[in-house]
């Protein structure tokens, strides 16, 4: 072998090593320890456990995508802010090298403070309160739209639907939960609505406690407002209570337009059966036309028969994807290296709507967009944006007493 061949072979070996070395190093370092913090018990237990399904289906899919192994350390917020904080501290103490969580904005805010203080990256799966990524944090990343983006997308898509069906409500009653998320959304509506030229006017705003035992008064008030449609930001149990009361009080608005969880969830569909059809949800969702979405749908059907893929599964899975992808590129579990790698994330082959997963200087994926999803025949059907839609919206909502 002459000198030229030796140099060429050396260069080739070097290049190959550059590609192989991180994987070898990662294999030697072992799986990345990821603390997944969710409200697994307490009032949000149902949704927390639904998010967990996104974790349960992840390992084989990530492996097929060529991602390194993750070791999951599970944490429970008990649906409480103070427990969220102590759970984050506990998991970091137990060796978690990256945190994921925690569905609820209040709880996520507490975890973000701990993550930043300890210098451990946090990838938020679901939480929309804008202030979380407005604090100048270096270790906090969110692949989920903020309340402002959710609302902006919602108003755009509502206008698109009104145009599509050739009709629009002139008045709406706005009902919202009075927790961190609901209050942030309510604040955003006041600021953003005038910019989007929506055709309706809010005739009454009704805030309520998400833990309320009874929402009959709220619906009586909403019905008495004479509004043509219901605009709402709710959670799961209250969405079920609101629907029951609308049926009992014989009020079918022209449309139920939700801008939060609850109305699209499997438990809502199962509990209310035929009465679950009709509500439109403007929410972060998966693009049914993307390849990864189809993989996730198949994985859910296999692991959890009868459970439809939803926002909770998709965004929790994507948080794990971000973690695995960053670990692969960083070649290290060093928190700073991981945070730096997350900052440079560019995953186009994802599931949620929008061009892919990437973060701005604040750690926010500002490219992720919402979808408009309507419950039809016990399934969630994407009706907007047009590029992702698989059906046209049913308008107006079928009357409850004629089902």
């Amino acid at each position: 072998m002459d000198r030229r061949h030796l140099l060429a072979s050396g260069a080739a070996l070097g290049a190959t090593s550059t590609l192989i070395l991180p994987t070898r190093l990662l294999a030697a370092a072992g799986p990345l320890k990821v603390g997944v913090i969710l409200p697994r018990s307490g009032v949000q237990a149902g949704i927390g456990q639904d998010c967990q399904r996104g974790v349960d289906i992840a390992a084989p899919i990530l492996k097929a995508m060529g991602m390194p192994d993750l070791q999951i350390l599970s944490g429970d917020t008990e649906s409480k802010v103070e427990t969220a904080r102590s759970t984050a501290e506990k998991l970091i103490g137990e060796g978690a090298q990256l945190l994921i969580g925690a569905f609820d904005s209040g709880q996520t805010t507490a975890i973000a403070q701990v993550a930043e203080q300890k210098g451990v990256p946090l990838v938020i799966n679901i939480a929309a309160a804008p202030q979380i990524t407005e604090q100048g944090y270096k270790f906090v990343f969110r692949n989920f739209p903020t309340a402002g983006t959710i609302l902006a997308n919602a108003f755009e898509q509502q206008n698109a639907i009104f145009k599509q069906v050739g009709d629009a409500p002139k008045t709406v009653v706005f009902m919202h939960v009075n927790d961190t998320f609901g209050t942030a959304m309510a604040g955003g509506i006041g600021k953003l609505m005038p910019k989007f030229n929506v055709p309706y006017k809010v005739v009454e705003t009704i805030p309520y406690d998400p833990r309320a035992r009874d929402l009959s008064v709220e619906i009586s008030k909403a019905k008495a407002s004479g509004a043509e449609a219901l605009l709402c930001v709710s959670r799961l149990n209250d969405a079920i209570l609101l629907t029951r009361e609308m049926i009992k009080q014989r009020w079918t608005p022209k449309a139920v337009m939700s801008m939060g969880p609850g109305w699209y969830e499997d438990q809502y569909l199962k509990t209310l059966g035929k009465y679950s059809d009709g509500p439109l949800t403007f929410s972060p969702w998966y693009d049914p036309k993307k390849k990864l979405s189809q993989t996730l749908v198949a994985a859910m059907a296999k692991s959890f028969p009868g459970v439809n893929l939803n926002t909770n599964h998709v965004f929790t899975f994507e948080a794990l994807l971000v973690a695995a992808d960053a670990y692969k590129r960083a070649g290290s579990s060093d928190p700073k290296a991981l945070a730096e790698a997350i900052r440079k994330t560019n995953i186009a082959d994802n599931s949620s709507m929008g061009p892919g997963i990437m973060f701005n200087a604040k750690g926010q994926n500002d490219k992720v967009v919402d979808g408009a999803v309507q419950n039809v025949g016990g399934k969630q059907v994407v009706v907007q944006p047009e590029a992702s839609a698989i059906a046209k919206p049913i308008w107006p909502m079928p009357a409850y007493d004629k089902r």
């Binding site: 697994r40 018990s41 307490g42 009032v43 237990a45 149902g46 927390g48 456990q49 009075n178 009704i206 805030p207 309520y208 406690d209 833990r211 309320a212 035992r213 009874d214 929402l215 009959s216 008064v217 709220e218 009586s220 008030k221 008495a224 799961l236 149990n237 079920i240 029951r244 049926i247 009992k248 009080q249 014989r250 438990q267 509990t271 059966g273 009465y275 409850y400």
Partner: protein, 290 residues
């Protein structure tokens, strides 16, 4: 706002209040006689709700029809709990009794969580979405049935305590423990019966409540708190007071939701509680402690 709205809301609040009152009766019965504050009150009602759910799902029994069965099961549970466990701490300081009942509450939550999972579940009856229309008044059928059942159960309870020898003996124990012992009453058995009757009330309330509220293991604490508000307003240990307190809370919460803000409903209940504590600390129908 129209008069129809207020009427609808007031009637709905009244019916809901009757059910609240029935659930609070259980707390009042136990405290009125045994002088133990049942901090596992809400969890025992949740146990009744789950028992009703099991009967509904396994045998298709309507919650209102399963009410006697669930009440009987909870009676047996309460009787044994008092006789085997609670009796043994009755002589200890109040905080020890509190710890015992709080521990039982945590255990009940854990058992329900293991058996039924964290999700909210309900019994979907055929009349679950129906309502009666009387002029401008639209009344939820489930609430009407539930309110009527609460009235019947409360009536039976009053009759038992006032017209049966056992009921009178239980009241005698509550009025004068030493005197009851002196005249030869079997206080241990009567206390167990009382605790059983208290928990049977919770079983009955649970069966009715399942028609209105989805059950999940964490539902208990909010109902414990609600029952405390009701019995303190109505008068600790007073059976009519518990029913009156329930109705007051049901109606005032409902009207506060319309007149003020729905999110202020709970604040209004607590406001009422503070007012009663300041003006009439023994409760509306309670007796001054001697």
């Amino acid at each position: 706002m129209s008069g129809g709205l207020y009427l609808n809301v007031a009637v709905s609040g009244l019916l809901t209040g009757l059910i609240y009152g029935l659930s609070a009766l259980g707390l009042s019965v136990i405290f009125g006689v045994i002088r133990i504050v049942n901090f596992a009150h809400g969890e025992m009602m949740v146990l009744g709700m789950f028992a009703t759910l099991v009967l509904f799902r396994a045998l298709g029994i309507d919650p209102l029809l399963s009410l006697p069965l669930v009440a009987a099961a909870l009676f047996a549970f309460g009787y044994l709990l008092q006789d085997l466990v609670v009796r043994r701490v009755a002589h200890l300081a109040d905080h020890m009794q509190f710890l015992l009942m709080a521990s039982i509450a945590v255990m009940l939550i854990s058992v329900c969580l293991m058996l039924f999972g964290p999700d909210a579940q309900n019994a979907q009856v055929s009349y679950g979405f129906d309502s009666f229309a009387i002029g401008p008044l639209l009344v939820d059928k489930v609430r009407v049935y539930a309110g009527a059942a609460a009235l019947v159960v409360s009536g039976l309870l009053f009759a038992f305590f006032h017209y049966t020898p056992t009921g009178k003996a239980i009241r005698a124990c509550g009025d004068n423990y030493t005197g009851a012992l002196v005249v030869g009453l079997n206080v241990r058995r009567l206390y167990a019966l009382t605790f059983g009757i208290g928990t049977a009330c919770l079983g009955a309330a649970g069966a009715i409540m399942l028609l209105l509220v989805d059950v999940h293991p964490y539902l208990g604490p909010s109902y414990t708190l609600l029952a405390f508000i009701i019995v303190i307003i109505g008068g600790m240990g007073s059976l009519p007071g518990a029913l009156l307190g329930g109705i007051l809370i049901g109606v005032s919460e409902a009207l506060a939701g319309v007149i003020l803000q729905p999110s202020l409903k709970s604040a209004f209940s607590f406001g009422l509680l503070i007012l009663v504590l300041l003006v009439r600390p023994q409760g509306l129908l309670g007796k001054v402690a001697r």
